[in-house]
Symmetry: D2
Subunit: 280 residues, 4 copies
């Protein structure tokens, strides 16, 4: 599936600053970047940072003088996804999880799974199949949490959202992750470009480790799962922020776009007729 | 209904201290104290404090020297309760609430109703009758919160309990109160002696203001509602602690008892066949 | 000291609603209301509510149809204050506190003194004189907490402010109260009109009970203490909100004013040369 | 410096369980494991897990039947440390930090640095040298936080400790880490065996990334820094727990020991005369 993605960002910078951006389409075995262009105006010192697990690619820009900084990123991406029968998407026994997957059972800044054991087990503990468990989690979040722009801030965590029941995609993702981990299902935060998201923006959702695969879930149900273009994954939003800003910087413009370049895009969402887990 | 109640408390006191106890059966128009005896050993300076609203009667003891303090309280109490049909137990319109009742809509230290609006309205908002609303709240708490001694401490609040789903009578009461207030139903904390509570102890539950009466509710469902002997009411546990201790004091003994002096005690709890609200 | 105070409020009301306003100058023995005028446009059903302790006077307005509601309040007030030497402003021993004052030792929704014992005692515990203790508290808050409009919201409490170190007058007051209570000094929230507050607004500060008097303190240090006109006191902002709104209501206008009608106003603030406690 | 370390753990296991232990001395270029012995009784299926960054080595034991499990670990370790002048221990500019180090600027479950910016900057922001900044942080924690066994639990975080001011080594470490990150100094959690710790136990402290090295700090000041034997590092206690337990398991025995095998051990702690940073 080919997508044309772009982001145009502008920052008003007042003092020596460092900005670390997380906007590149990730290059993976199932997501090829066919063409990619990045423009930084004015030209400034920058470098790329790649995590040891290859999950994240950051662009670091160092600014020494006051300036209006414009960043234009554009890429054409081709991605391939798999659909796996729910019967195959069982819990991986703890005895078989690798170190990497085990680390996604830990609570994190925004996903305090350690405080949600009872809640998660009361609500979802008696569902046998692990994939259906996570489906039930996303259904519960979708039904109970109101999608409300501006209702939360950068300190809002899953522990807040489970009670206050309002938030944005980031909050939906954090709650989904926390509930999975509370049920001993590894779960990680996922950020990406998203086809058919209105208004266009970066999107956040999450992946759960089932049957040996990282299966994508989105409790907001705002977009087709097969319309996502991966930027990065991590423990929660701390690992995968769009921009980490150090210094006196105002974000003034943020235009995101994601188009599908294929004629026939058949949106895939989980429902009664579509109970196969999507992974890349 | 006549009850014989008693409490025997012992404190090991190391330094000049003040202890404020909240153990007297309250004297109200529907709760007569027929006989009452209080012994403080050794004899120490003490006085009684009564709140301006007559809801609380405190015993203040000032201790200047290290001592083992024994307090024995015993009373025979006669109380009268009413049962009111649920049809009469509607919300009192805001326009008709008095100042006193309005104050029990406010959030308090342990009952952060301001953080539970969505939760309360999602879960209980569409129940018409106010009495049935509060019944639904107590049923939800009873079903979802595990009664677990030692699972909480003096800092635990309704906001914790609604997510962590474990607690003791005090926590059950705080959550019930917070959910009522979030639904614009005045609710107050109630402490008392309780017949048929095992192991015997002081008990905490709550009252909601419905149809112009303070109706009793107990989400623990541990005791018959008509077996309660009132000590005090307040916003939450801060207003009605068994003992407020200032100084270096260890509580070493706490024996509570409550017997019914009538031959025929018919326990009253709310259920399908008993949907009349109990008040005094 | 005579003051001319006024508030003009406008609300855009969409559905049947109740608004409870807390804007009247309180009538007390040391604060006479010489002239008072209240206009509600359009004319709507309203009533006044006075607390049993006479600390609060609320105006309740019931609105049944969509309307733009305008409230104009104006009063001329004459107030008398006392200054008391710090030597007389010692802690009142617990043994001598009345029930009313004792209740202001309790933690409340926004003043979690129970979580601040160590902090308060570490920082201020070794100051002997109680008045100087509270002065030290306000100095610490003033020095460490940044006054920053918009940095907090209606859920922000003293426990947040003591760490996050930013807030508005309400947050400064809550933290002052919590620290006093943690030191066993009764403290209550105070709202009023304030002379020389820029931009003009309602103001919040706090009173501590010292030497048998409620002494005023203001950690914001924005206004002269003798320029305050009392609206109400309570445990914290929950008891003394400018407006409690039930229904679909937008606040559109809020203009507050406070002028001094005397030629010679000598502002009084605590400092090295002014260490007498101000009370009314 | 040679150390003989050991841990003897016993678990009473009731149901099929998985235990992941984090008790091995880590093998690094500056910490050689000369001899190592691990006994699991009864013999059970187990495997070792090593993190991709080599910071952690976990022992996973899978138990299918009820059993009393005994684990005895013993090792002789030789470690080499460096001391670096404070002049060389400056902040590494953001522009030069690698991906790995940058990730230790992020807030984590127990180290909410995002809520402590003002606090950290107010208190420590004007100290020039980064090493002295962290020394000031540990001094502040040591002076203000009481070391009190049992005062905290597994949910306690730096945000609690900074206000409640009591805790154990884990809490001291979390607060130190959070304050460093709030000052844009990468910091990570460190667990190890510790010579001269009474009573003997596992120890937790932290490392800050200064001048291109991970320098060790211990706000408890309980042990000599050169008496530590590294087990693992991570974002906070979630990454480096002694034992992660999945199932119905009671820990019944936990005996830890750490002896120095050299005749002349000269304890090293930071003080006026010892302002060189210790790293391995």
């Amino acid at each position: 599936m080919k997508f044309n993605i772009s982001s145009n960002l502008e920052y008003n910078i007042q003092s020596p600053s460092t900005i670390i951006l997380n906007i590149h389409a990730l290059r993976t075995s199932s997501q090829q970047v066919l063409k990619e262009n990045l423009a930084i105006e004015p030209h400034l010192e920058s470098d790329e940072l790649i995590s040891i697990t290859k999950e994240n690619k950051f662009l670091r820009i160092n600014i020494s003088d006051p300036v209006t900084l414009k960043i234009s990123y554009n890429a054409i991406v081709d991605s391939y996804y798999d659909l796996t029968d729910l019967e195959s998407l069982e819990d991986v026994p703890l005895a078989n999880l690798g170190f990497y997957e085990l680390s996604f059972l830990n609570p994190s800044r925004y996903c305090q799974s350690d405080k949600l054991y009872r809640f998660a087990n009361n609500k979802f503990g008696n569902i046998d199949n692990a994939f259906l468990k996570v489906i039930a989690i996303t259904d519960w979040i979708h039904k109970n949490v109101e999608y409300l722009s501006g209702s939360t801030n950068s300190q809002t965590s899953a522990y807040d959202t489970v009670t206050e029941l309002a938030g944005v995609c980031r909050d939906f993702a954090h709650l989904g992750i926390a509930l999975c981990r509370a049920l001993t299902i590894p779960a990680r935060y996922y950020t990406g470009y998203s086809y058919k998201l209105y208004p266009p923006d970066f999107h956040a959702c999450f992946e759960a480790y089932l049957g040996g695969k990282w299966i994508i879930f989105d409790a907001t149900k705002l977009v087709p799962l097969n319309g996502l273009v991966k930027i990065s994954t991590g423990r929660d939003a701390t690992d995968a922020p769009v921009a980490s800003i150090f210094g006196n910087v105002q974000s003034t413009v943020m235009k995101i776009n994601c188009e599908c370049l294929e004629e026939s895009f058949i949106p895939y969402k989980y429902d009664q007729d579509n109970l196969k887990g999507l992974s890349w």
